[in-house]
Amino acid sequence: MALDKPQVVQMLRTMILIREFDERAIQLRVAGKIYGAVHPYVGQEAIAVGVCSNLTVSDRVTSTHRGHGHCIAKGADIRRMMAELFGRVDGYCKGKGGSMHIADFAVGMLGANGIVGGGLPIACGAALAAQLEGKGDVTVCFFGDGAAAEGEFHEALNIASVWKLPIVFVCENNQYAANNAVAVQHPGVDIAAHAGAYHMPGVIVDGNDVLEVHTATGEAVVRARRGDGPSLLECKTYRWHFHAMRNTPPAETRASDEILSWKARDPIARLEQHGLERGVLSAAEIGTIRERVKSDLEAAVAFAEQSPFPDPKDLLVDMFAD
């Protein structure tokens, strides 16, 4: 499926924004301006963007500990995301959640999750709500290859399949769960292989090719909207940086040639190449997109920095609804 120019521009802009947001988050963490842990999504941008480009605002997604990309792709405001990283009151969670709990319910982003596998049951509940509402909305559940070893993954696939829930399970197989390679955690290399046991389509996708992700997700979303039930997409990809950092990035434990070979498949460079070759993008336009992302990020950091810290007197606010 050939995308038109505005679609390509939008995808490229979002992918660059996701990458630069996390590169910026790393710098800010090293500089001690933000707090807690950062799990960079760099290298995986094609998945969030290729998937979410099929969704409307009333479709919902659940996310993981590596959730900044999913938030941006679903339409969250980077100023409020940045304010959350800064622990400020204008953050999405008023500074109560931080990186691992950014959510924007207004755009159907039901939250990042600090627990591996924790989002899968919640996504099934959102899909059940969509099924009961009958308006054709779908839920996308993002998770890592590591989560496929958790019981919640298997319970979620099973119930989604028996009930034909309108859900797309998107596994981002970045080859590692923390420092452990897929091979030492799973009996086979393909997470998609589980789909057969649960009687749903299981599709392996090049997770560094945004167009392929877009197309494969599109089919799964159509199937879900039609009432034919869930699909499992496994997007093969690679994270360029460390698993997680606090004060400083941890030392690299992976082979450098492995990292280089994946960097050669940079999803952003590939989309740019595609756009240039098809003549829907010019080098000058790409430059403009990059400039715009840079200035948007500056504005987001400035917004975050000038937002006040939450008042400790509000510590107990938000515990219970009225």
């Binding site: 319910f105 049951p121 509940g125 319970e155 938000d318 515990m319 219970f320 609804a321």
Partner: protein, 323 residues
Amino acid sequence: MREISFQKALEEAVAEEMRRDPRVILLATDFTGDPIKEFGPARVRFTPISEAVLTGMGLGAAGSGFRPIVNWRMVTFSFVAMDQIVNQASKIRYMFGGQADFPVTYRCSTGGGIGLAAQHSQSPYSMWMHLAGLKIILPSTPADAKGLLKSAIRDNNPVVSFECSRLATATGPVPDGDHLVPLGVAEVKRAGTDVTIVGLAYYVPEALAVAEELAQEGISIEVVDPRTLVPLDVETLRASVRKTGRVVIVDEAPATCSAASEIAALIAEDPETFRCLKASVRRVCALPVPVPYSPTLERAALPNREDIKAAVYEVLKESLRPL
């Protein structure tokens, strides 16, 4: 007023709330009665035996506009869903800065005394109290069971309903109509002047029976039922203790880090209430063992009326001693 069983009262609560609000849905591995007949298979879902996923589905559906009731059946089975209870349900509203409400009700039966041995005889409400973020109801009469469960279903937060197995067949009067009992309001089930007994669930009727017996001996017992553990109506508990000066707290969970311990601490920690105490605070709880099977052992592990009476005599005796 009609006399109905505790179990029937709970079923009525669910059915009435489902009639009232089409957004109330049921998820459970099995059901009592036949709610599908009235409400249809879209709203009444037989689930696979997958407590983790159905606990989380309750949250996902609640955050997406529905009001699910997830029935774990026995609290025992909820332990395989600990991530969804501990890491998700209790924290989801707060950590997202109050962006959304999660009106989900988790139901479970609890307690021992029915010969089901260790795994099926548990009263772990204090584990949930400890989490900060879940409301907890613990009724002791059919009327409270109905009124509290209806309030729980209407509440915009995750609420856990602990339903004592030994009370399931107990009957009592239940008001007609839309009977609601607010969360966070304790009830003085019997007024008295000498000793306060705080009973939880099954031990409310037990305390009332003890109070009746001791009245023959001229001892006046006040029985207070917290009814909800979160929010806990500590004011009513303290007021009773300020009046009687003596308190015995009775529950079937082991005393260690228990709801009974929390109540004891809240009573003792209030200076005004503490000054009114004429004897030390007593807890009458299960022994700290997994509940055994054999009836002689099970009886010995769980508190009984004799244990309650002995504690009452002790606090009375202690308060007569000169300082």
